[in-house]
Amino acid sequence: MQDAQAMRAKQAADAGLLRRFSLETLQVGGLALAIVVFAIVVQLNFPVFLSLPNINVMFVNFLPEAIIALGMTIVIITAGIDLSVAGIYPFSAIVVGLLMLAGAPIPVAILLTLAAGAVVGAVNAFISNKFRVHPFIATLAILLILRGVNIIITGGSPVSGFPEGFAIFGQAGIDMGGFTLRYSVFIWLGLALLTGYLLRHHRFWRLSYFIGGNRRSARMSGINVERYLVFVYMLSGTLAAVAGIIVASQFNAANNSYGQNLELRVITAVVIGGADLNGGAGSILGSMLGVLFIAMIYNAFAMSGISTYWQDVVVGAMLLASILLGEALKRRRA
């Protein structure tokens, strides 16, 4: 009897602790903790891990994923998915390159490329809305089509030889002695802060949580869900185009092979960051930490000399762990 009472008191206390923080705080906090622990362990074995040049390398390698994850986060919050980003990414690198080679001024080439990304996103949403196809299928189809188109318009060989001024987006940066802090990092940072803030505080952007939480009730609240999703997928497409432009500048070339499996890395990062594929939950901060975590794992494995095949095992395990943690937290609070 006393045991039962003590147990109940303890349960109540646990519930209190769990309730004091939101699910999002707990998940993002847990991920941040995992990152710190992981960083310390790797640092103790490889002292170069947390050096500024190495951190810079991590950033540069995963910048496309980080930028695309911004859009993917919002897509997933609305209970959608966008696989086509891995097609738009090389597509826009190629398009911006071909436009410049055809003589278009750099700003014009970039604007047209961003518009192309937005149009592909609009097509995704249109197919999904109009024919009531799950976005997984609609964006998978577009991904496959774009992969083919990329090879067709390049003839399978890389596009290169861009004007000098184009280097500013992915190559040039501030000389920090030892390494170059690229301007592209600031592009990412600006976009992340902006989308993160808007998603948290802006009236229109917040509607994505309503749509993902309960689509029917969003409609009942007078939200034009179809039109909103067009916006969301256009945003995702545009951000994939931003990443494509940066990578074209970074390598001074565009190749149809860019972005293999990128969509899966991005989705993994976003889910590790606490987004719910069923919609209604997710945050930019969480997704960025998710990308950072994956970037650290890939970097650490490359450094350690352990077969890099193991890195996917670790990433997969982490994905499972974060999902199980999220479910467990949800159940404890219910």
Binding site: A4, R8, H201, H202, R203, F204, R206, L207, Y209, F210, G212, G213, N214, R216, S217, A218, R219, M220, S221, G222, I223, G280, A281, R333
Partner: protein, 494 residues
């Protein structure tokens, strides 16, 4: 003065199916006007037209004498017509305040939400209607009953002149219903016109100033509660008369079918002991959350229990899963047919035999489709499920027929004991009578039936004995023909 809302000669068809025919209806400021009718009579369609969800084919909508034409829910709300939907329009993962003011959040520069004002506005709203709900709590953390109140608060926040409530009490406990009726009285006093759609005639007679009856898309009568009776309303609704909503009680045998002894699972329920006899309908009453469903789920093996015992026909059972329970002959008719009971996108036939597939398996596990078809056909007939086509998907049926097919599904498993949890929630009077009759037929065939219901008249009208739950314990077991609602309520709350 013109009425707050007037609907004139509305026609509406979906394809070739006529849903509303020349329907006229008016509600005055400060009036509660109840709209009743069987499922499919056109109530929801009518209100969806008023609320801006459907277009009308012909007819007029007048708000205080002015013709209006709301294009969507949003516009209707801004005009002053708020519909409180039967299926809640709230999002569980957002806070109460965000849900209420979605798309109307107070903002600072550039559309950024002013969180402090948002929460303060919600708090003021709750103070105005006199309920204690936290604006910053997630909606999903509140019970369905409280969510219903939040939904109503949302409607009020539009400064609505007309509020339409579609089955607002279907998920509420008795005390929550009282609270809702208090809020309705306040709204009335402020001059708000209220349209109250309900299946529960008891509530309609308690709250309504006027009652209008729809049948098959036509308005067949309007009356005042004082000048009418539930029997008369039912006659109007179904176009025929019912001697009684409840079948005559049967003869209860002496043989005990199900014996539950000191079943406990703290903190949900404690020391639950009762016996169910052959041919008996045993009612379980109590407030929502008193542990009724939890006990039923434990008996069915869907949840575990900590201590105690369950015996079926004298044999001690140790059931760990619904599958074992069904094999032994215990069937549970779930509370929420949409969530747990039926496979909505599958056909009637698949649903009906789904609990008893084991009986239709031949060599190598191949299903015997002929026998399945025969059993399903018999079940459709026996339970009077319409339309009589068992290859239609369950989705396409009305609520009452869905409920009847859920019953058919249970029966195909040849149960010894049937646990029916809220068997008539959200179904119309006609279907209700048929479900009551089906439950009584079962009992008369020797099945022990347990009926859990939040509708007291139903528990009392149907049951041979009534067990009252309070806070996870049995507070009374009542028998006899003269159990009163007041007596049951007293045991349920004190």
């Amino acid at each position: 003065m013109p009425p707050a809302l007037e609907v004139k000669e509305i026609n509406k068809s979906f394809g070739s199916h006529r849903v509303l025919h020349e329907v006229s209806f008016a509600v005055e400021a400060g009036e509660v006007h109840a709209l009743v009718g069987e499922n499919g009579a056109g109530k929801s369609t009518l209100m969806n037209i008023v609320g801006g969800i459907h277009n009308r084919d012909a007819g007029e909508l007048l708000l205080k004498g002015q013709a209006i034409d709301p294009a969507d829910v949003w516009q209707a709300r801004q005009l002053g017509i708020s519909v409180v939907f039967q299926e809640l329009s709230l999002t569980p993962n957002m806070t109460v305040a965000q849900n209420i003011f979605v798309r109307r959040e107070p903002t600072k520069a550039l559309g950024m939400i002013d969180w402090q004002r948002l929460n303060a506005d919600a708090r003021a709203l709750f103070e105005q209607i006199g309920v204690d709900i936290s604006p910053t709590e997630l909606v999903g953390n509140y019970s369905v009953g409280i969510q219903q109140i939040i939904e109503i608060a949302k409607a009020i926040s539009f400064e609505a002149e007309v509020i339409i409530m579609d089955e607002p009490t279907s998920a509420l406990s008795e005390s929550e219903v009282d609270r809702l009726f208090g809020i309705i009285a306040d709204l009335k006093a402020q001059g708000v016109a209220i349209v109250f759609i309900s299946h529960k005639l008891g509530e309609v007679f308690r709250i309504a100033d006027r009652i209008s009856v729809l049948r098959d898309g036509e308005m067949v009568g309007a009356t005042k509660p004082a000048e009418s009776s539930p029997d008369e309303i039912i006659r109007l609704m179904v176009g025929r008369s019912f001697d009684d909503l409840y079948p005559p009680k049967g003869v209860v045998g002496d043989e005990v079918i199900l014996e539950v002894r000191e079943l406990s699972h703290p903190p949900l329920f404690h020391d639950i002991s009762f016996s169910l006899r052959k041919g008996e309908i045993l009612g379980i009453a109590g407030l929502v959350g008193a542990g009724r469903t939890e006990v039923a789920r434990a008996i069915f093996g869907a949840d575990s229990y900590s201590s105690g015992s369950i015996a079926l026909a004298g044999e001690r059972l140790d059931i760990k899963s619904p599958r074992e329970a069904i094999e032994k002959g215990i069937v549970y008719l779930t509370e929420d047919r949409k969530v747990m009971g039926l496979f909505l996108s599958m056909t009637m036939r698949e649903n009906i035999v789904s609990a008893a597939l084991g009986r239709f398996v031949g060599a190598l596990g191949i299903l015997q489709h002929k026998e399945i078809a025969a059993e399903s056909g018999r079940a459709m007939q026996r339970n009077d499920i319409r339309p009589r086509d068992d290859l239609l998907s369950v989705n396409s049926l009305s609520g009452g027929n869905q409920q009847k097919s859920l019953l058919a599904k249970c029966l195909s498993a040849n149960p010894k004991a049937l646990l029916a949890d809220e068997p008539t929630r959200g179904v119309d009077v006609g279907a209700k009578v048929k479900i009551h009759q089906a439950l009584r037929d079962l009992a008369n065939h020797g099945v022990g039936v347990i009926v859990i219901s939040s509708e007291l008249p139903e528990v009392l009208g149907l049951s041979d004995r009534v067990i009252v739950f309070r806070e996870g314990r049995i507070s009374a077991i009542l028998a006899g023909d003269n159990i009163s609602q007041a007596e049951v309520m007293r045991h349920a709350v004190q």
